[in-house]
């Protein structure tokens, strides 16, 4: 054995080193984006999650008005963290529809009382069926739905202060 063949292992290792080094330098994105972005909302018709607000059905989305669809739960800690920013969004004119995942009416009511209520409607998704259908893998997540009932954007994780203008912009784009 001689010549160039002896360099093959080193070259293969150099290739691995390059890829691994590149990957290490990249910010790790653990989120799995929904395949539903760009498509129409799946069909659903959810009962109200609490006595004070109406429930929500997919049919209500196709009326020309873009909305935010917030997937949350009263048992979810990051949902408490994002509550003030949902309120900010609502104050700046964003209509927000909620879907409460695996929740109890009394817990939902208590959460809204304690952390504020930005929602026009909250539907109850007791078995995460709508959550899975829409391609969300956790709470909280927020989707932008355009006037034709299409999903145009997915925000994974809690909404932070810097996300508020981004979501408003996406909502404006969806309305245009």
């Amino acid at each position: 054995m001689s010549g160039w063949r002896l360099w093959v292992p080193l070259l293969m290792f150099a290739g691995f080193f390059g890829v691994a080094g590149y990957q290490l330098s990249q910010p790790k994105n653990e989120f799995i984006e929904s395949r539903m972005v760009g498509r129409e909302l799946p069909y659903f018709d959810l009962r109200p999650a609490t006595t004070d607000l109406p429930g929500i059905a997919s049919a209500q989305f196709g009326d020309g008005q873009p909305r935010l669809l917030n997937i949350w739960a009263s048992w979810c800690v990051p949902c408490i963290a994002e509550a003030p920013y949902l309120e900010q969004l609502q104050e700046q004119g964003a209509p927000i529809v909620g879907i409460a995942i695996r929740d109890r009416p009394e817990d939902v009511a208590r959460f809204l009382e304690r952390h504020g209520n930005p929602y026009v409607a909250v539907g109850a998704d007791d078995l995460s069926e709508v959550q899975f259908a829409i391609g969300s893998s956790g709470v909280p997540e927020t989707f932008v739905i355009d006037g034709q009932g299409r999903i145009t954007h997915q925000h994974i994780g809690d909404i932070r202060e810097t996300d508020v203008p981004v979501l408003l912009e996406k909502l404006r784009e969806a309305g245009a």
Partner: protein, 679 residues
Amino acid sequence: MIAELGLAALWLAAALAGLQTIAGFLSVRAGTTTELGGLIRPAAVVQGVFAGLSFCALLYVFAITDLSVKLVASHSHALKPMVFKLSGAWGNHEGSMLLWVTVMALAGALIAVVERRLPDRTMQAVLAAQGFVALGFYAFLLLSSNPFERLPIPAAEGMGLNPLLQDIGLAFHPPTLYFGYVGLSIAFSFAVGALITREVTPAFARAMRPWVLGAWVFLTVGITAGSYWAYYELGWGGWWFWDPVENASLMPWLAATALLHSVSVLAARDALRVWTIMLGVVAFSMSMLGTFLVRSGILTSVHSFAVDPERGTFILLLLALYIGGALLLFALRASTISEGKRFAIASREGALVVNNVMLSAILAIVLLGTLYPLLTEAFDIRVSVGPPYFNPVGAIFVIPMLLVMAVGPLLRWREDRFARISREMIVLGAILVVALVLIAVLGDVALLPLLGLAVAAMLTVASFLPLRGRKLTRVPIATWGMVVAHFGIAVALFGMASESAFTKERLAALAPGDTTQVGQWAVTLDAIVPVAGPNWTAIEGQLSARIGDGEPISMRPQSRTFWAPPQVTAESVLATRWNGQLYAVMGESAGDGRWQVRLWWKPFVTLIWYGGLLVALGGVLAIIGRVRDDLKNRSVLRRAAERREDMRPEDMRPEDMGSEDMAYEDMRSEDMRPEESAL
């Protein structure tokens, strides 16, 4: 105070590793015996002592739960049982790295003390390489993962240990793999030392072999134990998931398996020189690559608790330094290593070469499958590679390899004819065909399990054929080792194939009093009760399982909730019978008074792990046989040297020591016997 002493000992050990490297490098370059050369062995020994002291200091601070030490505060808890306090010392990144360097330093000390067969210069190069490898790990510990770091204010209470890790099997599973990895690092040092001095001889192979065998035994045990742990602790019913971290332990094992066969060819027949060196480098590369994949979190895996990208960068740099360096040295030097002896294709060496090629191909398949997501992610495509790739693609090479494994040990060294063993081959072929037809006719079995069952039946017979016609009391221990290890492969293969062909699964929602059927077993949920342990509470399902009208056996799977840190785990329960295991897991409440219960009946599944242990036992027998032969040879040589000394005392100069190697070379004529095992 003890923590500071531990840190000081670690710094001293690192300094000695530095001294060992520099002295080794300089005296190898000088090429003559220098005063510096005399420092190398003592430096290696004292380095081992200091590293050992440092690790003892860490064990001590964990034993007394010294909460002013950051590592203890973040990974231990005063209420934990003592054995888990101690295992907590290495159940975390810093501690496990310290364990790694300690074992490495102790192994270095051991070769410095006992290994006297190799020429001085090669030995110096080996110890210099070993010191250099250790130095990188010391730097890693001291610069970025100091295990003895103090907290400014002692913590009030520790933060516990991951409850999934609070398990006796797991307490000893990572150290076992580490011993294997470290053994391969010694083999790596031997390979680098030999590349530097270009001395690739049978004596070199013999010096390297116990380390390869030892590493291989530890890896075998580690993988077997890890597989069993995943099987009963994760509660998913599977025993191998092709998870990146499992692959990370499998790849060094594959490389070590290839290496131990090729090192045997080198030791017995002075062939496969360059290939053996290459495998020595590859085997350690695979263990470092495994460490990198686990620690950097670059691939998502069930072992995600160990992740930190900064550490990943450090390990990647070490990887570049050692593996890149060794491969560069290989590229520059390998062509100058003279060719070994030639052999015919129909020979023991020929079969071992085929085995090596197959093992390397399997290694390449596993490596590709493991790294493929990393590669595609660079182009923003996310994929996950799983059993649909690994099982069939691996089988393409595993099955031919097992067929060669059945015949290879029957062949003679150097040159043989297949016609000589035609009778054995016909018998084995007949068993294979009959088993295939019988199983295919009698049962509804998928292709891979069918092949697995038939090959297992054939291998069981084949593994004992090398003993045929021999007086069993006179068979060398190392040959027994080969027989037992090959038989272990047959046993494990049978378990795997049986599990995948005949497993019965049932997921049922049961209210107390309900009964469900899985395989032959009728399982009744008698009651649901809450239970409390030292640091957890649980919901326990009281099940009774029976076959027909037989005596019912009681099974109590739990769904446990730990407090510190809060976490829910499924505590599965296994009922083992001679012909398989009944596996029960408690699920969630269905909300209407019923509970999810998952049940499996897995025929002969335990053979997977018994087979693994047999393989390891074979390795242990091989080590015993080899080391005993070495000691015998050494005492013969010493007596011969004493006789010479008696005759011509004035002629006994240092350079005469070289003749020891020549005398040793003569000794190996016994290795040429055809019946000598490959292991």
